[in-house]
């Protein structure tokens, strides 16, 4: 076991990790942040998406020890002070959540999109979410949720 320091959601965290452990495993099982989901472990599904130094990445493809001292933002960072993030609220209101397993990854990916591109076109939204699989919704309500959130966040 080796010591590891990360800055997760703005907080310095220290933990012990085993060689070969992914950042996803460390977040879920050592740092009590189970929002990032474990599904495919090969970067196909996007359920474990996080921001590392601001870049959207699959945490299952990040070797935890290689993330030493990095700034990591998980889905848990989005709701501030008990208030849902506008994207989370839009997902609820648009009916974009069914089983909910893919939701955290989609919300993180959509947050990264709207940070960089406040007025994405339909195609840009589809492209930005192309690394996140949902087996329930058929994506229509998810696209609607992102449109709603973009309107609420940026058209005032």
């Amino acid at each position: 076991m080796n010591g590891l320091r990360l800055f997760v959601n703005g907080v310095e965290r220290r933990t012990e990790v085993r060689g070969g452990e992914s950042l996803m495993t460390v977040l879920r099982e050592r740092l009590s942040l189970p929002g990032s989901k474990n599904a495919c472990e090969q970067g196909e599904c996007g359920s474990c998406s996080v921001l590392i130094e601001g870049a959207l990445l699959c945490s299952c493809l990040v070797l935890a020890e290689a993330a030493r001292d990095r700034d990591v933002r998980t889905v848990e960072s989005l709701a501030a002070g008990g208030e849902l993030h506008p994207l989370q609220r839009a997902f609820v209101e648009a009916g974009a959540v069914q089983c909910g397993f893919c939701t955290p990854g989609l919300v993180v990916a959509a947050a990264a999109l709207l940070r960089d591109n406040p007025e994405p076109t339909e195609l840009e939204v589809r492209e930005a979410l192309s690394g996140n699989l949902c087996r329930c919704t058929g994506y229509g309500t998810i696209l609607e949720a992102v449109r709603r959130a973009a309107r609420e966040m940026y058209t005032r």
């Binding site: 992914s22 699959c58 990040v62 070797l63 290689a66 990916a109 192309s130």
Partner: protein, 280 residues
């Protein structure tokens, strides 16, 4: 587990730990680790090596191994085919992680950038603690996931002639995102140097060229004039497609049959020469 601070650090770690796996974006190595197919005793992370992220363009393009697909989409390299290939890779998450050096290091016949490097006649730059050498990309891959890279060497980048705008990459897959190519094709027409380059992916044990097809296409441009846009006729496009398909050495596998791959390579080559012929 070592994190290299800079290139000198990475090279001395690679010399000390020749058995180490080099970790860049993690999109290949971490899948192997997560599924228990690899359990490396030593890993050297090279993703913080700033020198590997350089990109220079001055008649010749030199791209550092640490340049990600996302960075390739931001441009600066002037190669439309590199842009198009990067655009087909994975998803935003994968493009933010995966690198030129990783595509080369994994040396998969399905690596999306690799047909482009073949068509551009790129040189792969390898460095050890003692020496740097350039290897023509066509000599770099020796088989599926095998290359001439020595354990103490790090792929530091690739370079190629700025070949102008007449170039394209095409890929056939089962959907648009997150897809390993069934077949991929790059075509470069370097009008200034009067050179045609073809690269084929997922069509053999390594990335393949198509010398006969290249000679045939060069003949078409000799006739039509290299400096002008031209529209090769249907018969010429078909013949070019047939010659490219003839260079393929595909197999049947889970992603497609050999016969299908030959067919789509001919179709892509026909479309590619029509597209590229119109660009001058």
């Amino acid at each position: 587990m070592e994190i290299a601070r800079d290139l000198d650090d990475a090279l001395s770690l690679a010399a000390e730990l020749p058995e180490a796996e080099l970790l860049a974006g993690g999109t290949d190595l971490m899948v192997e680790i997560n599924f228990g197919r690899k359990r490396p005793d030593a890993v050297v992370a090279i993703d913080r090596v700033a020198e590997l992220r350089h990109l220079a363009r001055n008649g010749r393009v030199r791209m550092g191994a640490g340049v990600t697909y996302t960075m390739m989409l931001e441009g600066g390299h002037g190669s439309a085919a590199v842009w198009e290939a990067a655009r087909t890779v994975g998803s935003p998450q994968i493009r933010n992680a995966g690198t030129l050096g990783g595509n080369l290091g994994t040396a998969s016949p399905a690596g999306d950038l690799l047909p482009v490097l073949a068509a551009l006649d790129a040189t792969v730059l390898l460095r050890s603690a003692h020496a740097e050498r350039g290897v023509a990309f066509r000599d770099f891959m020796t088989g599926p996931k095998r290359s001439v890279r020595q354990p103490c060497e790090i792929i530091v980048g690739a370079e190629w002639d700025d070949a102008g705008p007449a170039q394209t990459f095409m890929k056939v897959g089962t959907r648009n995102a997150m897809v390993i190519s069934v077949a991929g094709l790059a075509l470069v027409v370097d009008r200034a140097r009067r050179r045609v380059g073809v690269g084929l992916g997922s069509c053999g044990p390594t990335i393949l060229g198509a010398p006969e097809a290249e000679r045939f296409a060069a003949g078409l441009f000799d006739e039509a004039g290299w400096e002008r846009p031209s529209a090769p006729g249907e018969a010429a496009r078909r013949e070019f497609g047939g010659l490219v398909a003839g260079a393929a050495r595909p197999i049947d596998d889970v992603r497609g049959t050999a016969a299908y791959r030959r067919h789509v390579v001919a179709v892509m080559a026909d479309r590619a020469i029509a597209r590229v012929g119109a660009i001058a």
